[in-house]
Point group: C2
Chain length 171, copies 2
């Protein structure tokens, strides 16, 4: 089980970034996203629609109390932050974990997250994007195999093309 | 030279996603982003501020005529799209290119991009995020070494920590 905890969602301002986090998490092998911050049914609904059309078992769950998500998590927790230890140094150890909670924050992450996460890991020590950091983390964690994942019960499936588009419907 | 061409930016709606694209491009080793679509000085200014504080030579340039950016590019062009050929199959060939233009679209990409790009490559055939796709592409292209890149003339630099935050100012 690999889950993502998205902290500090703000309705309106963060809709697209949080949606990208959920979609990237699903596409790149995560099982679940816990959303925290302001409750936003629109995201849960839109990701539900993607799962229905594109298959797989991915789910999104809103949890007001993100502390309880961290506390009750059975495995290790890793917080992605530019202040953390380099991904290149830590990914080998993290890859051995069976149940991992990957925490991505919004603008201001409470200091207790830095303190209580088992690992704080940076995907470069430069300011960039929690979507980018999460995607690279997942690609490294699953060693690129996530890109070949088949999503069961898909109604739509891409047939890869050198040029142009092809979708199989009702596969 | 590795540059990114961002198609179809819309003022307001796309500000944060396009900003994340620029920041991820910079953090993960790209030299430049060409922005197209609606002109948006706020992004060019905010990324300029990041470069001033965090160093390096990265630049963002607005080009209304994205076709001319593609046409005049000296090296190969690769369009990231869920409809393309799998990254795992193509990254080996692409990694040999010295000058690469990586094209990322907004919602509706004109069919001539699919037709005229030298490569159309998918970072998973699932719907997700152009920020995520770009980040994974760059990490694969630079084989993870981009995460250790030093940015010359930085005023700020992170000192990696297992827990907590440390920034060196005026390094």
């Amino acid at each position: 089980m690999l889950a993502v905890l998205r902290l500090g969602h703000r309705v309106g301002r963060d809709v697209r970034i949080t949606t990208h986090i959920c979609l990237a998490a699903r596409a790149m092998g995560a099982d679940k996203v816990f959303l925290s911050g302001e409750k936003d049914e629109s995201i849960i609904k839109s990701i539900g629609g993607v799962v229905k059309r594109w298959g797989g078992k991915f789910e999104v769950e809103y949890r007001k109390d993100w502390r309880s998500v961290m506390k009750s998590w059975k495995g290790k927790t890793v917080h992605l932050t530019m202040y953390g230890e380099p991904l290149n140094d830590r990914i080998g150890v993290l890859r051995k974990e069976k149940d991992l909670l990957v925490i991505v924050g919004a603008e201001k992450v409470p200091s207790e997250v830095y303190k209580n996460a088992d690992f704080n890991v940076s995907v470069s020590g430069q300011p960039h994007s929690e979507v980018a950091a999460l995607a690279v983390f997942l690609d490294r964690f699953f060693e690129g195999k996530e890109l070949e994942k088949r999503f069961p019960k898909a109604k739509l499936r891409i047939v890869p093309q050198a040029h142009g588009k092809q979708i199989d419907a009702n596969v």
